[in-house]
C-alpha cells in the first residue's frame, strides 16, 4: 500500500517535472520565435539598396568626370546616398538604362525612355510602376514634341540647342524627397524621428527615402504653386526663347512666329491678381497649370483653340469655377466674367522692348475705355481752364463761369454769384453817389 502510494507520488512528481520541462520548452520556443521575428523585422526594414547589377561598384566613386568632344562637362559619378534618398531611390539603374550589358557602355544602350515601366510596384494596383500615362498626356500636349525617350547625358547639349519643346528632364530631375530648402523645416517637425522610428527602421536610407516619403506628406506637397510657375517661367519668361517659338495658325494651318501676346504671357500674368498673390506667397492665386492643365496628370497643356483645352472659350467657366475658386463663373448671368483677359499685354508697360506699339494693344479694353472717356475728359479740361482764367477771383473765392449759384448757396452756404454781383454793383452805386455828394459839397 505504502509502496504503491510512494510509486504514485513518484509518478506524480515525474509527470509534474515533465510538465515543467514542456513548459520550459514552450517558453524557449516562444522566446526563440520572438527573437527571430524581432530580428527579422529589423533586418527586413533595414536599408534597401536597389543595386542588383552592381552599378555602384564604379558609379559610387566620386570624381568620375570628363570633358567630352563638345566640351561638355560630364560626370559618371552618382552620389549613392543622394540617389537612395531621391525620388528614384527604389529604382535599379537598369530599369531606366535598360540595354547596358557591356563596358565601356555604348551610348545607344544608355538611352532612357521615361515611358518604360520599372520593377517598382505601384502600391494600389500592384502593377509595375510607369510614367507612360503621364508621357501619353505630355505627348498630346503643346509640348509633346519634346523628348521623352533617347535621353542620355551626352545629348543634353543637342537638346539645349535644337529642341524647341521641353523634354521630361528639362523640368524634372532626380530630386530628394525632401528638398534642401525644406530640410530645416522637416528636421524641426520630426526631430524625434531618429529616436522613435529609428529603433526599428535603421540606416540613413530609410530616413532619407522611406521616412522622407511618408513624413513629407505632413509638411505639404512637394511642389507648391510658385514652384510650378518657376518651372513654366524657365522658358516662358525668356523673351528671346519665346520669340523663336513657331505656332500653328488655327485657320491656315501654317506655322507662324509667336506674337507679343504669347511672348509676354509670363509678364502679363505677373500683373494679374493671381500672379501678385502668389508672388506674395498667398496661395489663393492660380498658378499657370491651375488654368492650363488643371486635371489629369497636369501635363496636358493645350492651345486655347483646341476644344478640349481648359482655356478654350467654352471651357473657361468650368476652369475658373474649379476647386471652389470662382464658382459663380458658371452662372449664365456671369458669362462675361470669363471674358477677363488674363494675358492682356496692355497691362505691361509700353516701354517693354517686346512690341511696345503693337497693334494688338489697340484692341485692349483699356484703350476702348479711354476712347469713351476722352470727350468727357476734354470737356472737363476745357471747363477747368476757363474757370481758372475767367472765373471771378475776388476775395480769394473762385466761382464757376456758368451756373453754380444753387450749389454755392445751399451746399456751401455762401452768397451766390448773382447776389454778390448785385450787391457789389449796389455798393459801387452807393459809393459813387457818396463820392459825387462829397465832391458837390466841396
Amino acid at each position: 500500500m505504502a509502496g504503491s502510494l510512494h510509486r504514485s507520488v513518484e509518478e506524480g512528481e515525474a509527470v509534474k517535472a515533465g510538465y515543467c520541462l514542456k513548459r520550459l520548452q514552450l517558453i524557449e520556443i516562444f522566446l526563440m520565435t520572438a527573437i527571430y521575428v524581432g530580428f527579422s523585422q529589423i533586418v527586413n526594414s533595414a536599408e534597401r539598396h536597389p543595386d542588383p547589377d552592381g552599378c555602384f561598384s564604379c558609379h559610387a566613386l566620386e570624381g568620375l568626370d570628363y570633358i567630352d568632344k563638345h566640351g561638355v562637362l560630364r560626370s559618371a559619378s552618382i552620389d549613392k546616398k543622394h540617389y537612395y534618398s531621391s525620388l528614384h531611390g527604389s529604382v535599379p539603374c537598369k530599369d531606366c538604362h535598360r540595354k547596358i550589358r557591356n563596358y565601356p557602355h555604348a551610348v545607344e544602350n544608355v538611352e532612357v525612355n521615361c515611358a518604360e515601366s520599372c520593377h517598382v510596384e505601384e502600391p494600389s494596383e500592384g502593377e509595375p510602376y510607369s510614367h507612360k500615362y503621364v508621357v501619353k498626356e505630355y505627348e498630346s500636349s503643346v509640348h509633346g514634341e519634346g523628348w521623352s525617350k533617347g535621353l542620355t547625358g551626352g545629348n543634353r547639349l543637342k537638346e539645349a540647342n535644337q529642341a524647341a519643346d521641353p523634354s521630361c528632364r528639362y523640368c524634372h530631375s532626380n530630386e530628394l524627397y525632401i528638398g534642401e530648402a525644406e530640410l530645416p523645416k522637416f528636421k524641426a517637425s520630426f526631430d524625434h524621428l531618429d529616436s522613435e522610428c529609428g529603433s526599428c527602421h535603421q540606416g540613413e536610407v530609410w530616413l532619407g527615402q522611406f521616412g522622407g516619403h511618408i513624413l513629407r506628406r505632413f509638411i505639404g506637397s512637394r511642389w507648391d504653386k510658385n514652384d510650378h510657375n518657376r518651372m513654366c517661367n524657365k522658358c516662358h519668361a525668356d523673351h528671346q526663347r519665346m520669340a523663336e517659338v513657331e505656332l500653328e495658325n488655327a485657320e491656315t494651318r501654317e506655322k507662324e512666329k509667336a506674337g507679343p501676346r504669347f511672348i509676354l504671357a509670363s509678364d502679363s500674368y505677373a500683373t494679374t491678381l493671381h500672379g501678385r498673390l502668389l508672388e506674395t506667397e498667398v496661395m489663393q492665386g492660380a498658378s499657370c497649370i491651375d488654368c492650363h492643365a488643371p486635371t489629369g496628370f497636369r501635363h496636358g497643356v493645350l492651345r486655347d483653340e483646341n476644344s478640349k483645352a481648359s482655356t478654350h472659350a467654352d471651357n473657361l467657366a468650368e476652369t475658373c469655377a474649379q476647386s471652389g475658386c470662382h464658382g459663380y463663373a458658371t452662372h449664365p448671368l456671369n458669362h462675361r466674367f470669363v471674358k477677363t483677359d488674363i494675358h492682356d499685354i496692355d497691362m505691361i508697360p509700353a516701354v517693354n522692348d517686346i512690341a511696345p506699339r503693337d497693334p494688338s494693344r489697340l484692341e485692349s479694353s483699356w484703350i476702348k475705355a479711354l476712347i469713351a472717356l476722352l470727350p468727357i475728359v476734354v470737356v472737363l479740361g476745357i471747363g477747368s481752364l476757363l474757370w481758372h482764367f475767367r472765373g471771378n477771383k475776388k476775395r480769394g473765392v473762385t466761382y464757376a463761369v456758368f451756373g453754380g449759384d444753387a450749389f454755392q448757396e445751399k451746399m456751401i452756404g455762401r452768397k451766390p454769384k448773382a447776389k454778390i454781383k448785385k450787391h457789389t454793383s449796389q455798393n459801387s452805386v452807393v459809393e459813387k453817389q457818396a463820392a459825387d455828394n462829397e465832391a458837390h459839397e466841396n
Binding site: 570628363y66 543622394h82 530631375s173
Partner: protein, 283 residues
C-alpha cells in the same frame, strides 16, 4: 634658343623635371610630330550649366588654389580619349599629381609624398594622417556638396554609420586637394602654373610662331611619358609603385586597394576598343 636661355635662368637648384627639360634633345621626328599636333590643336571651351541640367545630382568640379604647370595647356580633366579609363584617370588626378604618372625618369629613384595644393600649406609637403579615424571634412570628396535628408550628429557625422565604414569610404588625402607627388632629394620634381618658369613659358607660347610652339611642346614633353603606369603598378601587393601604407593607408584600406574589383576587371581588356560584359566584373 629662346627656350634654352629661359631654362638657364630657372635651372639653378630647380625641380628635377626642369633639369630633364634642359637636357631634352629634340630630334626632327619628334619636332615634326609636335608641329602637326600644334597645328591641329583647338582650344576647348568647357560647357557647364547647360539649359538642360543633368538628371542625377552632380558634384562641383574641384578647384585647388595651386594648379599643375600642365594646366597651362591641358584641361582640368585632361583624360578624354580612352572611353574605358578616362573617368577613372580623371578621378585619380584629384589625388595624384600629373607628374607621378607621367614623369618617371629611368634610373632615378623618386620618393612619393603628399603635397598640398590648397590652404595655407599649399606647395608644402604634408605628413600622412596618423589617425585611423579621420575627420570626414578632410575627405577629398568633401568638395562635392551633397544635400541629403540624413540626420547628422553634433559632430556632423551621419548617425549610426560605423567607424570602419567611414574609414573605408574615405580617401587618404590628409587635406582637401592634396596629391601624391614625386620628390627627388626632398624637393618636389614638379612645377606649378604660377611659377616663374610656367609664366614665361606661357608667354613664349602666346607670342611664338607655330614652329616655336612646336619646339616648346616637344621640349616640355620629352621627359614625360604619354601613357601612365598600368593600374596594377599601384593596385598590387608586391612592390607597388609607392608605399601606400607610408602615405597613410590603414591595413583595411590597403587591402581594399590591393584587391580592387575594378582593377581586376580592367586587366581583362586586351584591346582599348574592346567591350566586355559587365557580369565579368563580378567574377
Amino acid at each position: 634658343m629662346v627656350l634654352g636661355c629661359l631654362l638657364c635662368s630657372f635651372i639653378q637648384a630647380g625641380p628635377l623635371y626642369l633639369a630633364q627639360v634642359k637636357r631634352a634633345d629634340v630630334n626632327n621626328k619628334v619636332l615634326q610630330k609636335a608641329l602637326a599636333q600644334v597645328k591641329e590643336r583647338k582650344d576647348i571651351e568647357v560647357l557647364d550649366n547647360l539649359a538642360v541640367m543633368p538628371f542625377h545630382k552632380r558634384g562641383v568640379l574641384q578647384v585647388t588654389e595651386k594648379l599643375a604647370f600642365c594646366m597651362n595647356c591641358h584641361l582640368p580633366l585632361p583624360h578624354r580619349k580612352n572611353k574605358r579609363n578616362r573617368t577613372f584617370l580623371n578621378m585619380h588626378s584629384l589625388y595624384i599629381a600629373c607628374e607621378t604618372c607621367h614623369f618617371r625618369p629611368k634610373g632615378i629613384a623618386l620618393d612619393y609624398r603628399w603635397l598640398a595644393y590648397s590652404g595655407a600649406d599649399a606647395g608644402q609637403v604634408l605628413s600622412p594622417r596618423s589617425s585611423s579615424i579621420r575627420d570626414p571634412s578632410h575627405a577629398v570628396g568633401k568638395n562635392r556638396i551633397v544635400a541629403d535628408s540624413v540626420v547628422n550628429d553634433k559632430n556632423g557625422m551621419p548617425k549610426r554609420e560605423r567607424k570602419n565604414k567611414i574609414e573605408k569610404r574615405q580617401l587618404l588625402a590628409p587635406l582637401p586637394g592634396a596629391r601624391i607627388a614625386p620628390f627627388y632629394d626632398g624637393v618636389p620634381v614638379l612645377l606649378f602654373k604660377e611659377d616663374d618658369f610656367a609664366l614665361t613659358t606661357k608667354q613664349v607660347w602666346v607670342d611664338g610662331s607655330e614652329q616655336a610652339r612646336a619646339e616648346l611642346k616637344a621640349k616640355l614633353h620629352l621627359p614625360l611619358e604619354k601613357a601612365g603606369p598600368a593600374c596594377k603598378n599601384c593596385h598590387r601587393k608586391d612592390q607597388p609603385m609607392f608605399d601606400l601604407h607610408r602615405l597613410g593607408a590603414t591595413p583595411q584600406r590597403l587591402k581594399a586597394m590591393q584587391n580592387n574589383t575594378i582593377v581586376r576587371f580592367f586587366t581583362r581588356f586586351k584591346k582599348d576598343e574592346s567591350r566586355i560584359r559587365l557580369n565579368k566584373l563580378l567574377r
